[in-house]
Point group: C2
Chain length 405, copies 2
């Protein structure tokens, strides 16, 4: 077994657990480090499931076997989210090594092109590779802020991460297949993770996105420079940058250019944005493009008070399909706003940017919120109420209230 | 204990070891995946030392306790090198948790400024953070290509990585200290890792770099979004982007602006570029700025033959202090060159770029080399001979010879 990167001492501190909490809170710690205090606060939560046992237990909240959230301050101050900390959302059980088999022999069929072909993963890896940083975000991220107790994991900010994907561009594959067939309107990805003997209409993970998405999409076998772990869709995943997580089909074995949307449940009725009390159907919008969004990651509210004086407020912002252009921060719940600065390199329009603002804070209570703009649109103040609590990008709910002493 | 990210099956294959080698070679595998074959080739090497036991054993070559190299194809096709795969070069024993103590209370003193101050790490973390991607490379990277058996680890290409650092800008600290003292000419970093009761002249890790380096330097507490592991310099490391690894002082506890270079051995006589047979002294150049450099990472030479037809050649290139502008690839040992394409986002001038070229290769033997340019300078063909085999950026030695069948 590998040792963890962090040391035995810090691991022992973590195990010592709640004894440390009061001490840290009293000291007014607001450090971005994932501390024992924080981990202790979550220690009564569920244990990591076996297929994700390698995740950093101090960085996540385990809602269930199919919902593991990154804690607010653990999404990665190095822009990219370490995969040990990255959230997990599985609609179907994670494929096992046995079910995946020899990865080199994994096949991907391409349909809806002039010359349909089937490639092995080994063949794809011999093509010219491409690398792209992109935000991966669950459609339900922010569900935990809704008041109506929508069904599903009660995510706050952490069903999202920014990761580096490596694979092959879909445009390159289309060229090798002689171009698109005529009349196609959607890019439809199909996963191989349907459990045996199920009804495909109910259990096949298949998603359609508008045709143009293929121009930016890639088929990835690596995440942050490492082989895709099973739980994130090994050995091959469709990456639809700027589109919500569910469209980034895991365990991909078919990519089809189609004239209509898939008719399986995961497309037709799940992931539909409907009025509260209403079931999903194709009459309602599906979870496709991500809207402009941001949130504060530091200081966090549950680490005791912050020392008065200069306080750095930082967070992340992204624009879906548009490059984020501007972030403002307010320390009074949105009455007054100041422009924040972007930090670090720009990893491209599909990645998030880190931002920071230095504020001079006297003792008191502060509601710290952020508001991003992209492509001429700014985040709205409020969420749009909907049955399954999807697409939340309202700035008000995403803020934190901190105590300055 | 955490499970590793990769699966039990692939781990079992790895352990099965040499039985797999012949099979893979016969199949002509040239995949970027770190295969059992590759791992098996290194299995007679030393085991990972305890302080680096969490490294990916399939991705590294353990030269010694103080020299662990990343294998050619494991530096990360996602631009950034996963820290599980990142090389290790330690001049002094890695500090233990016990010696580091409470990281929040770690102190950094700043001297050679108008108002010298001492900061705790906790205080530094409350300042406005900064993030930067940079190449980290040992001065001796490429030593294994020299013919005279220079003393030290026989690195080929893998004493280098590109990582994301998070910390605080040195310029921000200088401002807080009232600006630079007059007459200073060097930035001198000192590590806290000298073993007890040693002679500082011989065992203090202290390095000086030209003053202007401070404008880009940061003090980092995170690498790739995770807390710095001890072996990489926890809890605080000086990052001097564009400068060789040794100048990026680990376990940093003093940063001084000085009027002259440090007089300790690691500055005065070690890391000096001297004629073969000559000892180091301050009469000779030290290992400071990195020169423009590139190498091919795929296909690799030790994985059997490559299938004839379209073959993608890829690698990395960087320019030290200058952004890399151009990479050419030759498949005939440098007689003819073709321009390669850059892949993926540009993480800034201190990071490396990935490049690729698609070649159409008939059966035969090919010597594949790459040559990068930056700031108007191109890599030379040959190495410059020197006693300790430093600063090798000649393109000829860094190539690979592949068999196409």
């Amino acid at each position: 077994m590998k040792q963890t990167r962090q040391t035995n001492i810090s691991r022992r501190n973590f195990l010592a657990g709640s004894a440390t909490v009061a001490g840290l809170a009293a000291a007014g710690s607001v450090l971005p480090t994932i501390t024992a205090a924080n981990a202790a606060a979550h220690e009564k939560k569920n244990a990591l499931p076996d297929f994700a046992a390698w995740k950093n237990e101090q960085a996540v909240i385990v809602h269930s076997r199919s919902g593991i959230e990154t804690i607010r301050e653990a999404i990665g101050s190095g822009i990219l989210t370490p995969i040990d900390n990255l959230y997990v959302r599985n609609n179907l059980p994670t494929m096992t090594d046995e079910a995946i088999g020899d990865k080199d022999k994994w096949t991907l069929s391409i349909e809806g092109v002039k010359n349909p072909k089937t490639f092995t993963l080994k063949q794809l890896k011999l093509m010219s590779p491409t690398t792209m940083a992109a935000v991966l975000q669950c459609s339900g991220n922010g569900r935990g802020f809704f008041a109506h107790k929508a069904s599903g994991s009660q995510w706050k900010t952490g069903a999202a991460g920014c990761v580096m994907w490596t694979g092959v561009a879909v445009t390159d594959l289309v060229k090798m297949c002689g171009g698109l067939a005529s009349g196609v309107k959607f890019l439809t990805g199909t996963g191989a993770d349907m459990p045996k003997d199920q009804d495909p209409q109910k259990a096949l993970l298949e998603r359609s996105v508008p045709l143009n998405v293929y121009k930016d999409a890639i088929l990835a076998w690596e995440i942050n420079g490492e082989d895709l772990p099973n739980v994130h869709g090994a050995p091959l995943r469709l990456v639809t940058p700027g589109y919500y997580g569910v469209n980034n089909v895991k365990h991909l074995n078919k990519l089809a250019f189609t004239t209509s949307e898939s008719q399986v449940r995961f497309m037709k009725s799940s992931y539909r944005v409907t009025p509260i009390g209403t079931k999903g159907s194709s009459d309602y919008p599906t979870c496709w493009e991500m809207d402009v969004k941001s949130w504060v990651t530091l200081p966090v509210a549950d680490k005791g008070s912050v020392a008065a004086g200069k306080v750095t407020i930082s967070g992340v912002a992204f624009g879906g399909l548009k490059e984020v252009s501007n972030v403002e921060v307010s320390v009074d719940g949105g009455k007054n706003w100041k422009k924040a600065q972007f930090i670090g390199p720009n990893l491209g329009k599909f990645a998030w940017r880190q931002f920071a603002l230095e504020a001079d804070l006297k003792p008191g209570s502060y509601n710290v919120v952020s508001r991003a703009s992209a492509g001429g649109k700014s985040q709205p103040e409020l969420r749009i109420e909907n049955e399954r609590a999807y697409l939340h990008n309202g700035w008000k709910d995403h803020g934190v209230t901190i105590q300055v002493a």
